[in-house]
Amino acid sequence: MPQLDFSTYSPQIIWLVITFTALYFLMARVALPRIATVLEERRDRIANDLDEAERLKRDTDTAIANYEAALAEARARAHEIAQATREKLSGEIDAERTRVDDELAAKTAAAEDIINAARSRALAEIGKVANETAEAIVTALVGGRWTKANISAAVATAMKV
C-alpha cells in the first residue's frame, strides 16, 4: 500500500503545508472579503429596495387619500350648488305664481264687476219691459179699466215672487 510508504511522508507534509498555507492566505485576504462584500452589498441593496418600495407605497396611499378627500369635497360642493339653485328657482317660481295669481284675481274681479253692472242694468230693463208688456197685454185684453199704476204694482208684486 503506497499510503504506508514512510519515505513519501516528508514531501507530502511539506507540500501540504505550503499549499494549504497559501490557500489560507488567498482565502482570508482575497476571496472571503470579496464574497462578504458582495453578500453585504446585496443585503443592503435588497433592504434599500424594500425601503424604497415601502416609501412609494406610503406615497401612493397619501395620494389616494388626497384624491378621495378632493372627490368628497367636490361632491359636497356640487350638492350645495344644486341645493342653492333649486331653492333659488323655487323662490322665483313662487314669486311668479303669486304675481300671476294676483293678476288673475284682479282681472276676475274686474270682469265680475262688469258682469254685475250688466246684470243689474239688465234687471232694471226687465222691469220696464214687463210693465210695458203687461200694460199692452192688459189694454188689449180688458181695455182701459186698469190704470198704469195698478199694473205697475201688480207687475212689481209678480216679479218679487
Partner: protein
C-alpha cells in the same frame, strides 16, 4: 494500487529532508488553483445577481459560515480553507488519471491533527485550566467519574484518528472499487463487460456524492469540535 503511487516529479532535498515536488504536490497546486478559480476569479464581477460560478462561491461561503457559528467567526477562514481544500482534492481525484490527494492517510492525518491541536489550544485559551472540566460529565454518580473521565479523554484523543481515517478510507475504498470494476470490464471483454461498466457509471455518480459528502462531514465535525472548545457543550 498504482493510482495511489507517489511519483517524484522534481526531486528536491532541503537539509537532508526529502521535499520533492511529487504528483501529490502537483494536484495540491491544481486544487488550490481550482478553489481560487471558484472563489476569487468568479467573484471578479462582484455581480449583485450572481452567475453560476459566483453562486457556487457564495453557497460554499454561506454554508460554512452558518456552520461555524457566531462565536467561531474568527476561525471561519481556516474552516473555509479546509472545506475548499478537501472538497477540491476529493473532486479532482475523480478525474481520470488524476491523483486523489486525500487518499493518503498522512495528508488527512495532518489536516485532522491541525484541527485537533488547534481546537485544543483554543479550548485552553478560552477557558484556561477550566477546559479540563470538559472531560468530566455533569450529573453522574461520583463513583463513575474516574471511569467516565477516562472514556471521555480516550474519545477526545481518538477524534483526529476517526476524522482522518474516515476521509482517507472513503477515498481509498471508492477509488479501489472503481479500479476493481474497471479491471472486470477489461477481463470480461466486449461480451460480458457491459454489466460492470454500467455499475461503474452508477458508482462514479455515487463517488462524486461521497467526495462532496466527506468534505462536508470533515468540515461539520471540525465545526462541532470548535464549538465544543468554545462553549464546552
Amino acid at each position: 494500487m498504482a493510482q495511489f503511487e507517489i511519483k517524484r516529479l522534481v526531486p528536491i532535498e532541503i537539509f537532508g529532508i526529502d521535499a520533492s515536488f511529487t504528483n501529490s504536490a502537483l494536484w495540491m497546486l491544481i486544487g488550490i488553483f481550482t478553489v481560487c478559480v471558484f472563489t476569487i476569479f468568479s467573484m471578479g464581477g462582484r455581480a449583485v445577481v450572481p452567475g453560476r460560478f459566483q453562486s457556487v462561491a457564495e453557497l460554499g461561503y454561506e454554508m460554512v459560515r452558518d456552520n461555524v457559528g457566531d462565536a467561531g467567526q474568527k476561525y471561519f477562514p481556516f474552516v473555509f480553507t479546509l472545506f475548499m481544500f478537501v472538497l477540491a482534492s476529493n473532486m479532482l481525484g475523480m478525474l481520470p488519471y488524476a491523483f486523489a490527494v486525500t487518499s493518503h492517510i498522512i495528508v488527512t492525518l495532518m489536516l485532522a491533527g491541525t484541527v485537533f491541536i488547534g481546537v485544543t489550544v483554543i479550548g485552553f485559551v478560552t477557558h484556561g485550566v477550566g477546559f479540563l472540566k470538559f472531560f468530566v460529565p455533569t450529573g453522574i454518580p461520583k463513583v463513575l467519574v474516574p471511569l467516565l473521565v477516562v472514556i471521555e479523554v480516550i474519545s477526545y484523543l481518538t477524534r483526529p484518528i476517526s476524522l482522518s481515517v474516515r476521509l482517507f478510507a472513503n477515498m481509498v475504498a471508492g477509488h479501489t472499487m472503481l479500479k476493481v470494476f474497471a479491471s472486470f470490464v477489461v477481463s470480461l471483454g466486449i461480451l460480458g463487460g457491459w454489466l460492470p461498466l454500467g455499475f461503474m457509471v452508477a458508482f462514479t455518480g455515487l463517488e462524486i456524492i461521497i467526495a462532496f459528502l466527506q468534505a462536508y462531514v470533515f468540515t461539520i465535525l471540525t465545526c462541532i469540535y470548535l464549538n465544543d472548545a468554545l462553549h464546552m457543550h
